[in-house]
């Protein structure tokens, strides 16, 4: 397949690995932010192919995993209303709230539907004027433009029965929060490639400078990830710390200006709570006042709901790169994809799900 096979070429991958081996002189900790990259790394065994000095830690870049429990409970409360069609990407249906998940709500009679695109939710709103159609708008900067477009269109068309339950999170503030933590071990980042297709990499330059960490926006295929690691290591070994783009075929410095324009039209920046991490200042989007009529939290008045987080689940420290999934005592025991304790085991981008799926049961050393 064009633009895919070349980036999976074992010959190229081995050549990059040999360069990495000849370059590394001491231990380094590199975090890949994006859950999609975590899956690619574990699936392809990249973590095990690297020299033992290079440790990859998995970041908080799974939007489903970091959606706070309160939002899941609010989603459940809205979905339980008799006149509501609640729509979401499939991953969200199985994320446990305080007492149940959206899948269970559906089995109890709630009209919960999986959509592939927010435009499908908008279509439902056009087709069912007698119902309230709510879309659970989760995701990073990559998903946000689509959700912004859906609400922009709803307003333009005068569709009053369409709203978003917004839980958008932004990557750079989280990267900065992790680097500023006293427990931080991260010395360099592979930045999330598709977030950068939208936002570019200007936002990363002050972070690289302030914390003196190399940051390399990276693609998702094995060669992309290895090349990203090589670029990061070259900088680490020479004491450099700048933003360098590996994912040249998809990412430009300014990102996608058309998408960025509509993002700033529809959303404004707000503080957001991340599941397992806590509140990070200026790390999320909320709808601007002009779109308040399409804000599900306001429309359904689901503010103060009490939440109960599982005490067994260690996903919070896993998301901060402080624990590997297979080091959690509940991993594969109390917590499996069939009986997940936390979102990191549910989501197709979750680090725990990656370790479980690809049978990464023991540490390489």
């Amino acid at each position: 397949m064009k633009y895919l096979d070349e980036f999976r070429d074992p010959k190229v991958a081995r050549r990059i690995l040999s360069e990495i081996r000849s370059l590394v002189t001491r231990p380094w900790v590199i975090m890949e932010i994006c859950g999609g990259q975590t899956h690619s790394i574990i699936k392809n065994g990249i973590d095990q192919l690297l020299p033992k000095e290079v440790e990859l830690v998995h970041g908080p870049g799974c939007p489903v995993c970091v959606t706070p429990l309160e939002l899941i409970d609010r989603a459940l409360a809205i979905a339980a209303r008799p006149n509501v069609i609640f729509t979401s990407f499939g991953d969200m249906l199985r994320v446990p709230g305080s007492h149940k998940d959206l899948f269970m709500a559906r089995s109890e009679g709630a009209d919960v539907r999986t959509v592939y695109s927010p435009l499908e939710a908008l279509k439902l709103a056009r087709e069912h004027p007698e119902k309230e159609v709510v879309f659970f708008a989760v995701g990073f900067e990559t998903t946000a433009p689509g959700n912004a477009m859906a609400v922009f269109q709803a307003k333009k068309e005068g569709l009053k029965n369409f709203s978003l339950l917004v839980s958008h999170v932004l990557v750079p503030p989280a990267m900065e929060a992790l680097l500023g933590s006293p427990q931080n071990r991260v010395q360099a980042y592979l930045a999330a490639g598709h977030v950068c297709t939208v936002m570019g990499w200007e936002e990363y330059e002050p972070i690289a400078e302030k914390f003196h960490v190399p940051i390399v926006p990276t693609g998702f295929e094995p060669v992309d990830i290895l090349e990203g690691i090589l670029q990061v290591l070259k900088q680490l070994e020479s004491g450099e710390a700048k933003v360098e783009n590996q994912y040249l075929r998809a990412v430009k410095r300014e990102g996608n200006p058309t998408a960025r324009k509509i993002l700033s039209e529809v959303f404004e920046i707000t503080d957001r709570k991340w599941r397992g991490i806590g509140e990070i200042p200026k790390s999320g989007y909320r709808l601007r006042e002009a779109y308040a009529a399409h804000d599900a939290e306001k429309k359904f008045a689901v503010g103060d709901l009490e939440t109960e987080e599982s005490e067994l689940c260690k996903s919070g420290i896993i998301l901060q790169g402080l624990l590997k999934p297979n080091q959690c005592p509940a991993f594969g025991a109390e917590c499996t994809p069939q009986t997940p304790l936390g979102a990191t085991m549910v989501s197709s981008e979750g680090a725990c799900a990656a370790y479980y799926k690809y049978q990464r049961l023991t540490e390489k050393d």
């Binding site: 991953d91 695109s117 435009l119 075929r249």
Partner: protein, 94 residues
Amino acid sequence: MCLAIPGKVTKVFEENGLKMGNVDFSGTLTKVCLEYVPEIRVGDYTVVHAGFAISIIDEEEAMKSFEAWQQVIEASEREGLDIYGNPLPKKEAE
């Protein structure tokens, strides 16, 4: 959500006032919104995320990567090194 593979645009059309298109992912045709890639044309490759094309694959940049790798591999083979950077046994060297 992020493991988007590149797909090829096979058709461009308008729906509810939005630029839409059919994108072929190795035989699977999907309808996607093309509003964020206004300059896209039939035959272009694109990265699609949750129903929206967010980036056009830059063919020139992709080719630069392939060429750079090819040069490194060829250079190391000329030096008698295999793809791991180890010396090639003479009779196995092509």
